[in-house]
C-alpha cells in the first residue's frame, strides 16, 4: 500500500479524532484569528464609532431564545461598544419572548462596562451604566408595525412607561427626546420577520439610518436593501458578530465560535484535498502501469 492509497482510504476514525481534537482545542484555547471585515459590517461600526458622546442610538432586540447563539453576540458587541463611547441607548424588544433575554443582556453588558479596558489602543475607564441616564429599556408591545409607526410620532405613545414601569418622562435620557428625529440610528437585531416592518414602516416612513443584525440564513435575503440604500449596514449571523467584535477590539463569544468554525472547516477541507490528491495521483499511476 503506497502513500497515495493510504491518503485515499484513511480510516474515518482518524478524521473523527482529528476533528474532535481541533474543535475542543480551538474551543478551549483562546487565540486570535484574522477575520475579514466586510463593507456592510464596517459601515455599522464606523457609524457608531464616529458618534459624539451623549448621542442616542436605538436598539431593537427582536429575536427569540432559539436564535440566541447567533444573535446575542451582536447585541453584546454593539451595546458594549456604544456604552464605551459614552453613547446612550434606547432598547426595545418587539418579539414576545425577547424582553427577559434583553433585560439579562443589558445587565451583563453594564457589568462588563464597569471594568476599565483598552480597545484599539485607547484606554476606556470603567464606569457605571445607569438605567434612565445611559440607557432605557422600553420592553415589549404587541403589533410591531403599529409600535414602530407609533414611535415615529412619540416614544410615549406605545410606551408610556418603560419595561420596569417607570414613566418615560422621569428618565433624564428621555428629556427632549420625542421620536426618531432625536436619535442617530436604529439597529434592529432580528431573527424574525419583524425586520420587514422596520424597513417598510420604520425606515420607509421616517427615513432614519437603519442597520440590521440578522441570522446567517436570513442575511442573504436582505442585501437588496443594502444596495438600495434603505439599510446602511448588515451583520450576518455569527460571522457578522465576530466582525463587529474584531473591529471593536473586544473579542467575545462570536470570535470564540468562529475560531472553532474556521478550523473545523479547514480540517474538513484538508481531508477533502488529501483524499483528492491521493485519488488523482493513484489514478495517474494506474494509467502509467
Amino acid at each position: 500500500m503506497n502513500i497515495f492509497d493510504r491518503m485515499m482510504s484513511l480510516d474515518r476514525r482518524w478524521v473523527f479524532l482529528f476533528l474532535a481534537l481541533v474543535c475542543v482545542i480551538t474551543h478551549v484555547v483562546p487565540f486570535s484569528i484574522p477575520i475579514i471585515i466586510t463593507q456592510e459590517a464596517k459601515s455599522i461600526y464606523s457609524f457608531i464609532d464616529t458618534l459624539k458622546e451623549g448621542d442616542i442610538i436605538f436598539m431593537a432586540i427582536d429575536y427569540d431564545p432559539n436564535s440566541l447563539a447567533e444573535m446575542h453576540p451582536m447585541t453584546y458587541a454593539i451595546a458594549e461598544h456604544a456604552f464605551r463611547k459614552k453613547l446612550k441607548i434606547i432598547f426595545t424588544s418587539l418579539s414576545v419572548n425577547g424582553p427577559g433575554m434583553a433585560d439579562l443582556a443589558i445587565r451583563d453588558i453594564s457589568d462588563s462596562v464597569k471594568i476599565g479596558k483598552t480597545y484599539n489602543g485607547v484606554y476606556y475607564e470603567g464606569r457605571e451604566v445607569v438605567n434612565g441616564i445611559d440607557y432605557i429599556f422600553l420592553g415589549y408591545k404587541p403589533y410591531p408595525a403599529l409600535v414602530i409607526v407609533g414611535m415615529g410620532q412619540n416614544f410615549r405613545l406605545p410606551f408610556p412607561t418603560d419595561y420596569y414601569g417607570t414613566p418615560l418622562d422621569e428618565h433624564p435620557i428621555m428629556q427632549g427626546v420625542q421620536n426618531y428625529d432625536q436619535i442617530k440610528c436604529v439597529v434592529d437585531i432580528s431573527g424574525t420577520s419583524g425586520v420587514d416592518m422596520w424597513i417598510t414602516y420604520g425606515q420607509g416612513r421616517y427615513n432614519f439610518p437603519l442597520a440590521l443584525g440578522l441570522t446567517g440564513v436570513m442575511a442573504a435575503d436582505y442585501y437588496p436593501y443594502l444596495n438600495s440604500g434603505q439599510v446602511f449596514g448588515i451583520l450576518g449571523g455569527l460571522l457578522g458578530a465576530a466582525q463587529y467584535e474584531k473591529m471593536a477590539d473586544n473579542p467575545g463569544r462570536a470570535v470564540d465560535g468562529m475560531r472553532v468554525q474556521l478550523f473545523a472547516h479547514i480540517v474538513i477541507i484538508l481531508f477533502i484535498v488529501m483524499g483528492n490528491v491521493g485519488f488523482l495521483l493513484s489514478r495517474r499511476k494506474a494509467r502509467k502501469d
Binding site: R13, C23, V24, H27, A69, N227, G257, V260, Q261, H265
Partner: protein
C-alpha cells in the same frame, strides 16, 4: 454561585455519562453505546406513549365525550359523533387476532384516503402552481451584468435561474432517452442540480459544527461545576470520565500491541 445538591449533580453526571457513551459510537459499537441506545429507545417510546395519552387522547377524545355515560356508550354526550374515531381506532386492534385482522384495513383505508385527498390540491398549489408562478418572473434586462462580481440580483442570474429550473425539469423527464438536443439540456439540468447540492452541503457544515460545540459546552459546564464543588462532586466526575478514559486507554494499548505483532509477519 448557588450550591448544587448532590442529587442534581448525580443527574448531571448521568447526562454526561450518556453523552460520552453516545460519542463512543464514533469509535465502534460497544457496550456503553448499546446501553444508551436501548435505554433511549425504551424511554422515548414510553415518553411518547404518555404524551399521546395526556396531550392527544385526553383533549381530542376523552374530554369531548366526558359528559356522557359509559353504559350508554357515551351516546348521550354533547358530541356523540366522536365515538366514530374511537371505534375506528379500536378496529386497528383487530390486528392482534389473525382471523379478524382484515378489519383493520378499514381505518387504514380511511386514513390513506383522507391523507391522499388532502395532499392533491395542496401540493398542486404549493409546489406546482406557486413555483411555476415565481419561475415566470421578469428579468432585469437593464441591469444585466449587475453591480460588481457575480451579483445574484442581476439580470443574468435571474435568467440563469429560469434556465436552470427548466433544464432540471428536463432532466427528470422519464419518457425520453437522453439523446440529441435533449441530452444537452438534461446535462445542463444535472449540472445545476449538482452545483446546488454541493453548495447546500457546504453551507450546512457550519450548523453541524455548532451542534458539536454545544455538546462540548455541556461537558465543559459539567466539569466546571465538579471542580468548583465539593470532593464528592469531584469523585463522581472522576468516575464518569474515568470509565471512558480507561476504555480508551485499553483500546489504545490493544491497537499498539496489534501493530507490533502484525509487523513481523
Amino acid at each position: 454561585m448557588e450550591q448544587l445538591s448532590v442529587g442534581t449533580f448525580i443527574w448531571m453526571s448521568v447526562a454526561a455519562f450518556f453523552t460520552l457513551a453516545t460519542f463512543s459510537f464514533l469509535y465502534k459499537d460497544n457496550p456503553f453505546y448499546k446501553l444508551a441506545e436501548h435505554i433511549v429507545v425504551g424511554i422515548s417510546a414510553g415518553y411518547f406513549l404518555i404524551i399521546l395519552w395526556h396531550n392527544g387522547l385526553q383533549p381530542n377524545l376523552f374530554n369531548r365525550l366526558e359528559d356522557g355515560n359509559w353504559y350508554l356508550f357515551w351516546l348521550n354526550s354533547s358530541r356523540p359523533w366522536y365515538i366514530i374515531p374511537a371505534i375506528l381506532g379500536a378496529m386497528m386492534w383487530t390486528r392482534f387476532s389473525r382471523k379478524w385482522s382484515w378489519v383493520s384495513r378499514w381505518p387504514i383505508a380511511l386514513y390513506l384516503g383522507i391523507a391522499t385527498g388532502l395532499a392533491i390540491p395542496l401540493e398542486m398549489r404549493n409546489r406546482v402552481n406557486r413555483q411555476l408562478y415565481s419561475t415566470m418572473s421578469e428579468v432585469d434586462w437593464g441591469n444585466f451584468f449587475g453591480n460588481g462580481f457575480l451579483d445574484s440580483t442581476a439580470g443574468f442570474s435571474q435568467l440563469l435561474i429560469f434556465l436552470g429550473v427548466i433544464s432540471a425539469l428536463f432532466y427528470f423527464f422519464f419518457s425520453k432517452e437522453h439523446t440529441g438536443v435533449f441530452k444537452g439540456i438534461a446535462r445542463f439540468g444535472i449540472w445545476i442540480l449538482m452545483i446546488g447540492f454541493g453548495s447546500s452541503f457546504g453551507y450546512t457544515v457550519m450548523a453541524r459544527i455548532s451542534l458539536f460545540v454545544q455538546r462540548i459546552q455541556v461537558l465543559e459546564d459539567y466539569t466546571t461545576t465538579a471542580w468548583t464543588g465539593s470532593g464528592v462532586f469531584l469523585l463522581i466526575w472522576f468516575i464518569t470520565f474515568g470509565i471512558f478514559v480507561i476504555m480508551a486507554a485499553y483500546e489504545l494499548i490493544r491497537f499498539l500491541t496489534r501493530k507490533q505483532s502484525a509487523t513481523p509477519s
